[in-house]
């Protein structure tokens, strides 16, 4: 029977059957892997037991990069080859990713959080809720300040929209504040956060959002 338990801090989901699964989607090059490289140490610092599944088109480039990073036990990084259609393996038929997650979970029984990086796609890509419990979409300032206005399903539907590469705004002639304002206005009351994955700025807030949403931190 479900009991009332006092949940104080992350990690708090011990005793539940499975690890939380979150997705990170967004266009190629927006900084998904760079953000994961920033998320790992902050999450680890909060005591979260985690693993990563990457999706690459035909290589295992991102997985290799994370394995070499020294940030995470290389055994905790798994690669799915997404083929030519990266959105298919996170939405229409996520079986490969589900299986990769299941393998990591059985290999690391204390696992609390599984991060799945999409292979990178257009603004229409979304995650299936069969695969993940919660997902964020990463766009970047250099991709153009008109991206929120294009109202892509990824931008509109994700649980958290991350606008990355804030450091580049002055160099690409983007007014960051108005880009964030537009992003918030197309998303109604769903959250938007700005990050600089180069410096780590804004990453704590992303970790707060993850911990609150799926690890049930206060």
């Amino acid at each position: 029977m479900n009991q009332i338990r006092t949940i104080e801090a992350v990690p708090s989901s011990k005793g539940t059957a499975t690890a939380a699964r979150i997705g990170i989607g967004g266009p190629v090059g927006s900084g998904k892997t760079a953000l994961i490289e920033r998320l790992i140490p902050v999450l680890a610092g909060r005591g979260v037991d985690l693993a990563v599944v990457t999706n690459d088109l035909v290589t295992k480039e991102d997985a290799e990069r994370l394995r070499r990073s020294g940030l995470i036990d290389p055994e905790r990084v798994s690669a799915v080859e997404a083929g030519a259609c990266p959105h298919t393996v996170i939405r229409e038929d996520p079986t490969l990713n589900i299986a990769a997650g299941d393998v990591l979970e059985s290999r690391f029984p204390g696992l609390e959080l599984l991060i799945l990086e999409s292979g990178g796609d257009n603004l229409a890509s979304t995650f299936s809720l069969d695969l993940v419990d919660w997902w964020m979409f990463v766009i970047d300032v250099a991709g153009g300040d008109d991206i929120p206005r294009k109202r892509g399903p990824g931008v509109l539907r994700c649980d958290l929209l991350v606008v990355n590469k804030t450091d580049l705004a002055p160099h690409v002639g983007v007014d960051l504040d108005s880009m964030l304002f537009e992003a918030r206005s197309v998303r109604g009351d769903k959250p938007v956060l700005a990050t600089n994955a180069r410096s780590g700025q804004g990453v704590e807030a992303v970790v707060d959002a993850i911990c609150r949403a799926v690890l049930f931190a206060p």
Partner: protein, 154 residues
């Protein structure tokens, strides 16, 4: 916060129905409303109709459903109510427009149902988000739209 890590049964299971009936007399059955677009989530936090904050973390082989019983004890029960699915009803002006509409709906991976000459699209967001994807078909009035009352759609 209450942590829910399994579904205990269905509202209409004989034994459960009996106990719920008894609790209802004591106004002790709380409701957790889940929007239809969120019903596949295994993990979420939410506030019940009675104002209690709950955290749901189900095993991967379980999903919430309308009537899922999450809490059941002597003094209290919590039952899931799935929000109504709203549908956008689209009707094309002629065959050529219908072909184009069908192409878009497939290309956009919309969840659809067919209703005679109309295409019903499951709404997971504001209607405008869908119409804008149809571009000229919508703006030129080649496809007309209306919202289907959830009750009628059954």
């Amino acid at each position: 916060m209450r942590l829910i890590d399994r579904i205990l049964g269905r509202r209409d299971d004989t034994e459960i129905a009996h106990r719920l009936h008894h609790l209802e007399h004591h106004h002790a059955v709380d409701i957790l409303t889940i929007p239809s677009g969120d019903v596949a989530r295994r993990r979420l936090r939410a506030t019940t109709l009675g104002g209690e904050e709950v955290a749901v973390a189900l095993p991967r082989d379980q999903t919430l459903f309308d009537g899922a019983v999450l809490v059941l004890d002597e003094a209290h029960a919590l039952v899931v109510r799935v929000g109504e699915q709203h549908w956008l009803r689209l009707v094309a002006r002629d065959k050529a427009d219908a072909l184009e509409l069908g192409y878009h709906a497939g290309n956009l991976h919309w969840r659809v149902r067919f209703d005679g000459e109309a295409l019903l699209v499951a709404l997971d967001g504001p209607v405008d988000d869908y119409l804008v994807r149809l571009g000229a078909l919508a703006t030129e009035g080649r496809v007309s739209h209306s919202i289907v009352d959830p009750v009628q759609a059954h």
